[in-house]
């Protein structure tokens, strides 16, 4: 496809200055912990990068991830870059539909075998009838699409870890991509939704350096998910002093105290929200007064109520303990009664024989 536009061309046509683009590159480079001097080279490489073949599969999902990426008020470099790469197949965004769309996907898979990327949002139901696209079950489509892929990038917690569809009682028997695809490199970019910069950062690195980023034990790029939100939270001094908001409209909440008691899961959540923030760095949930729900963590839906603090176990209430104590007391009383009987018997035997 000789007439394919380059990313640079696309950005220029959208009125993005070279200066802004360089800034994007250096931000990405620094976030991804690449050497600082790489930014111009990265800009160079990205500007002239050919549109990579990307197949975006959407399964059991809410489209929030795509929305997060594309619905920023002023089109960001991230969204533009995303537009640039995602043209081969995307249910939501592509113009083609029906057979034509599926054909495009098959064509891309065929033409770029071994080179294309598969991006997935949404989880895959093992009860295959629960979600199909063009009559093809999600499971079948995933397997087919991944067969000749270079790598898989999971966009959002659903494809990365199962997400909401997998939450108890998991009616569709949803699983994550990694549960099915075992033989391809997989990068998880979780979040509900994930941070746009994390998505593009991974892609940018792949495009420029030709390799996938370093991952943590949950398959997430360390560059974006290596930091604990709580460690980066600007409310942390209040936490350390033990100053907590007790409700969403109390004195503490107004003063911007720590949201731990209101269920903030940041102490066990790893994401870049606290330092990159959302909406072009405007804010992030904690700054807006709501605790982190730990959306970038596996099974976050099932880890206790959103407004239950991290410390609360998933115990329900103490009634069980009462019941356990009653049972224990009953056994104890039984043991004591038996001991008393034995004592009486022993006493009779001893004094009877005397």
């Amino acid at each position: 496809m000789p007439n394919e536009p380059t990313l640079g061309g696309l950005l220029r046509s959208q009125g993005v200055s070279r200066r802004a683009f360089l800034k994007f590159c250096s931000t990405t480079a620094s976030l991804m912990a690449l050497p600082a001097g790489i930014a111009p080279a990265m800009a160079e490489a990205l500007s002239s990068a050919r549109r990579p073949s990307v197949i975006w599969l959407s399964f059991q999902e809410c489209t929030g991830c795509t929305e997060a990426l594309t619905r920023s008020s002023a089109p960001s470099i991230e969204s533009l870059m995303f537009n640039f790469i995602s043209l081969d197949y995307h249910h939501t965004l592509q113009a083609a539909s029906g057979d034509a769309a599926e054909h495009a996907r098959e064509q891309a898979q065929h033409d770029n075998a071994g080179k294309y990327l598969v991006l997935v949002d949404g989880s895959i139901p093992l009860d295959e009838h629960c979600s199909t696209v063009a009559g093809i079950s999600n499971l079948a489509m995933l397997k087919e699409a991944c067969a000749h892929a270079a790598a898989v990038i999971n966009i959002g917690t659903c494809s990365a870890y199962g997400g909401i569809p997998m939450a108890k009682p998991n009616p569709t028997r949803a699983v994550a991509v990694g549960d099915i695809i075992k033989d391809k490199p997989i990068v998880n970019v979780p979040g509900c939704p994930p941070m746009p910069l994390a998505i593009t950062g991974v892609i940018a690195q792949y495009l420029t350096l030709g390799r996938l980023p370093e991952l943590d034990h949950l398959g997430r790029p360390v560059a974006f998910f290596g930091e604990n939100i709580h460690d980066r939270c600007y409310r942390r001094p209040f936490y350390d002093r033990g100053e907590f908001a007790e409700t969403f409209d109390d004195e503490g909440a107004r003063k911007g105290w720590c949201l731990y008691k209101l269920g903030c899961k940041a102490p066990i959540a790893y994401n870049a929200c606290a330092h990159i923030k959302w909406n072009n760095g405007v804010s992030f949930p904690i700054q807006s007064g709501h605790g982190c729900i730990g959306c970038s963590e596996p099974r976050f839906w099932d880890m206790g109520g959103i407004y239950d603090s991290v410390a609360k176990g998933n115990f329900g209430d103490g009634a069980k303990l009462g019941a356990a104590a009653m049972a224990g007391a009953a056994v104890g009383a039984g043991a004591a009664v038996l001991a008393r009987r034995k004592k009486t018997r022993v006493a009779e035997e001893m004094h009877g024989s005397e």
Binding site: A336, K343, V346, M350
Partner: protein, 484 residues
Amino acid sequence: MSIANATTTAPAAATAAATPIFPSFEQVYQGLAGQIGMLRQMAPKPTKTDEKRLQGAIDTLIEETNADEAVWLESCIHCGQCTNACHYFQATGEAKYAPMRKMDLYRRVYQLEISPMRWWHRLIMKPVKLQDFADASELIYDSCSECGRCTMVCPMGIDTASLVHHMRSAMVAAELVPPELAALRMEQKQMGTVFGSSPEALKKLVETIREQAGVEIPLDKDQAEVMVLSSAVDLVANGNGLLATAKIMNHLGIDWTLRSDGFESANFGLLSGDMSLWKQQADPIIAAAQKVGAKTLVIAECGHAYPALRWNPMVSGGELPFEMMYMSEFLGKQAKAGKLHLTPFEGKVTFHDPCKTGRRGGAFDEPRAVLAEMDADLVEMPANKEYNWCCGGGAGIFLLEDATRLRDESFKIKMREVNESGAESVVVSCASCRLNFESGRQKNHWDKKVHSLVELVADHLIDDPASLPSSNRQAAGEAQGARP
């Protein structure tokens, strides 16, 4: 029995008024020591099979364990505090004498037989063997005088002494009582005597006292306000004890009696741990006191007799028409009531509370009131009253040859305490303490004097009949004895 004869006949050679009728306590101690040495050969041999002995020991513990004992056994946290209190540990520094070790075997039996977790313990613990009891003998007898001092420091308040006492009961069933105690237990169980202290020996002694000291002892009266007990030590060795008692009673003009059907304070049931013998010994005394209509039963200066009678858990004290008192208690009450007038006592003196009447008996003030009556310069030992250090010879340990080292070493603590008090003499009110003090005094060439409270009082009576002409002496004694 031989000693009884020796001591009661000895004074015949010394009839002169100035010469003591009875041997000095120093001689008493030496005579008794020889006698005790012979006990070991007289010890009965086990009669039951090993299985029966073991089962008996375990059954005894099962029978004697109530919630109190169970809680104590459950409570120990191995904090080691009790080692600070126990004279046997302090004297030796040896781990095995640490008080908490003395309940280990009991706890094992408890865990296997009674604890609510017994089924679990049976899975993980080895069964108890007879040898375990044999090995525990040193802890149960030799190195625990059941003094209760460790309870005073234990943060859990564990009453180790009573746990050890239950273990002694088990040892009786296991036929593992140390030979000395076993011999005396057998004697008392079968013949009702201790060292041959029979009613006949009592009559003889009473006779001797009347004839040679001219002091009348109203033996076997049908009715009396006060019934007084004697003890084997008095009967077989230290006639001065009974003599002093009689002098005081007569001096006070009390309507008292000594009963040949219930006079023995010593109770080798309590000391060995034989509950049935304990009761067998206590019952006739209680019966005799009721028979004579006594208002007061005075227990001779024999420490363990106090718990054996006064605090006997099997004797329903609330229903008895009389009060039981230890000799020191009786004397103290008389002094407090202003009835006892005594000549002054010279020099600094300290009082040693026998464990059984002090910490484990509660008679603290009375002996001190007696000393106050003598205007004595009473100085207390650094640890006194509830905190008094045991002399090391209590609970029968004085009799045990195997415990000699423990006894002697721990007595040094007592000497240190007395020395620190600055006293020149020690008053004790327990024959066993006194013997042990005497032993320690002789072995260490200690320069302190040791007095018995009752003998001291007798020596300090004002208007002592001894100052009267000898012809009146007897009459005075009789007159006082007969006063209602």
